[in-house]
């Protein structure tokens, strides 16, 4: 053990509070910058964030209410908007639970067991993040489309996948595939297997151990993953656009409805629907931040900021 690693020889441990809301270490001038540099950097950072993040968000709500509140409500009450909302909810209601079961299963086998090819498996689970959403939609058209491999079989049995709800659900599942798994894997790896082994030694069954020991340990991480998964499921555009066929009132999700309205120059209506999704994004961010602040110790280490 080198001197640097021997904790007893060091000063009090590094102050973790340097991250959020903690005191700025101003006492040691040698390892911080002059005040004017600090404030200049803060100004640049906040200026950049305001320009690129806050301004677009403000634009959504301003444009939505430009023609008054009445127009705003009319756009939301329109039957096409309503059926788009229903389809969006349905797609998320299919995709999120399936990815939840997958995420828990993947995190269980990856975090509780050692096996060859584990790192490869983790990389493959992340794969949908680096695939373009348009390509994600295309792969299902190639399989289930009229000219696809399985297309004729499904056509014979009168099952519509592409330009119908199953295709939209599949595309949504693909793009939201890694969210829950990648949230749980690092968390469950950190937690190890001690708790589960104790429960099993005391005679609990495997399922009971999962339900009573593991699940309470990972619940906030799970919720965090579901939150992100859900936000993406609601907002997915590229992949769904390829498989949906854009049939108004039937295979239009909310993001696709926005596109149609926008291309018809119904800007106020487009932004009204957009403001709904922006509101959902804000709620997601709020809940996500609350989880990070309240239950930081029960989220994966990379989320503890």
């Amino acid at each position: 053990m080198s001197i640097l690693e021997d904790k007893s020889l060091q000063d009090p441990p590094a102050i973790p509070a340097i991250f959020h809301g903690g005191p700025l270490i101003q006492t040691n001038a040698a390892i911080t910058e002059p005040a004017w540099v600090r404030w200049l950097l803060i100004a640049i950072a906040l200026g950049f964030l305001s320009l690129f993040l806050l301004l677009p968000l403000a634009a959504v709500f301003t444009e939505a209410l430009r023609d008054g509140f009445g127009t705003y409500l009319t756009a939301l009450k329109e039957p096409d908007a309503y059926s788009a909302l229903k389809l969006t909810l349905l797609a998320a209601a299919i995709a999120v639970p399936l990815n939840l079961v997958f995420g828990v299963a993947a995190a269980w086998c990856i975090s509780k067991f050692e096996f060859r090819g584990k790192q490869l498996l983790i990389s493959l689970i992340d794969l949908p993040f680096s695939v373009s959403p348009v390509v994600a939609g295309l792969v299902y058209v190639l399989i289930f489309g009229a000219q696809g491999w399985a297309g004729s079989w499904f056509a014979e049995h009168d099952i519509k996948v592409i330009f119908a709800v199953p295709g939209i659900a599949l595309a949504t599942i693909f793009v939201t595939f890694p969210f829950i798994a990648r949230e749980l894997i690092p968390l469950m790896q950190e937690q190890g297997t001690d708790d589960e082994q104790a429960a099993l030694t005391l005679g609990a069954t495997g399922f009971k151990t999962f339900w009573r020991v593991t699940l309470p340990n990972i619940k906030w991480g799970l919720l965090y993953g579901v939150l992100l998964c859900n936000a993406r499921a609601f907002g997915e555009f590229g992949a769904v656009s390829v498989v949906s066929g854009h049939i108004r009132g039937q295979t239009n999700t909310l993001p696709l409805h926005i596109e149609i309205l926008y291309n018809e120059y119904a800007f106020a209506a487009a932004f009204a629907v957009a403001s709904l999704l922006a509101g959902l994004a804000l709620i997601t961010l709020l809940l996500k931040s609350l989880l990070e602040w309240r239950y930081a110790d029960q989220l994966a280490a990379s989320r503890r900021h």
């Binding site: 993040l53 390509v135 390829v242 999704l277 996500k288 900021h305």
Partner: protein
């Protein structure tokens, strides 16, 4: 790979796993591999099977056409600019949020993830209205002769927006865990602040910075929703590659769409590999 879901009893005898008291390995690995294969691996493999059916000539015919080449140049060039832009500002933002304290920090910190939470179509129309000729920013820029919306510049703006959080979020934890003692040591040994930052802190965060930039680049290359509104989609000028796939599909040119998709997928794999290597490097340098 798809049928690799042996029953539990068989798994315990597999040589590649150490015996553990915890149950459920076969079941969970079975679910994981089946689901992964059905949803992701087999469909993606289908693209390559279909693309290989086109033959080298066929692929070259599609990918070598001027319109596709122009779109590839635009997509990759803009994604690179956006990634570099975000690498610089992302590092600065991560630094400010880790090291300094200022009012409103928590709220701003929460907003950094907005591009992940905001649907891309919403971002697309919002950016277009901002940078359009009559928009808040566009009306300021147009007297200067700068046109952002409906030009390649708009593509860069949209890509910067959607890939903004990657660098910040990968650099932040590394910066937070960097040992202050090293900085103190550097200061003790007579290094000025700038030298310390350049020679001590920067090498520590470099792997994370590159990982973040690679992730941002990958996301920007594949992005569709936010770009098509602001880009104007003028062929040969501001038409991105994912849009070309959709155009080919709408023309029922499945072969052409597949060829472009296979090229983009190949790139995704290369990037994924690069990110994995970079992450391994990050872990190694963190341990040192």
């Amino acid at each position: 790979m798809a049928d690799f879901s042996p029953p539990d009893s068989a798994v315990t005898h597999l040589p590649f796993r150490r015996r553990r008291a915890i149950p459920g390995f076969g079941l969970t690995l079975g679910i994981t591999l089946s689901y992964l294969s059905l949803i992701v691996l087999i469909p993606l493999a289908g693209v390559f099977v279909k693309a290989s059916g086109l033959g080298f000539e066929g692929l070259l015919h599609t990918l070598g056409s001027p319109r596709v080449l122009a779109s590839l140049k635009l997509t990759f060039g803009s994604a690179l600019v956006a990634a570099l832009f975000n690498a610089f500002f992302g590092l600065l933002i991560a630094w400010v949020f880790v090291r300094y304290c200022f009012p409103g920090k928590r709220i701003f910190d929460a907003f950094i993830d907005l591009p992940f939470a905001l649907p891309t179509a919403v971002a697309g129309i919002a950016l277009t209205s901002l940078y359009g000729p009559n928009g808040w920013i566009g009306s300021l820029l147009s007297p200067l002769g700068i046109q952002v919306a409906y030009s390649p510049l708009g593509v860069i703006v949209a890509m910067t927006f959607i890939s903004l959080p990657f660098v910040v979020r990968t650099v932040e934890p590394v910066l937070a865990e960097a040992e202050r003692e090293l900085e103190e040591a550097a200061a003790t040994l007579g290094a000025g602040r700038w030298v310390t930052i350049r020679r001590v802190i920067f090498p520590t965060v470099l792997p994370a910075l590159l990982t973040g930039a690679a992730l941002a680049f990958a996301r920007a290359v594949g992005e569709y929703g936010s770009i098509i509104f602001i880009a104007g989609n003028i062929p040969m000028v501001s038409e991105i590659t994912p849009l070309l796939i959709i155009i080919k599909l709408e023309e029922f040119d499945y072969a052409g769409a597949t060829a472009i998709a296979a090229a983009m997928l190949t790139l995704s794999f290369v990037l994924l590999l690069a990110v994995n290597i970079l992450q391994a490097w990050t872990r190694r340098s963190a341990r040192r």
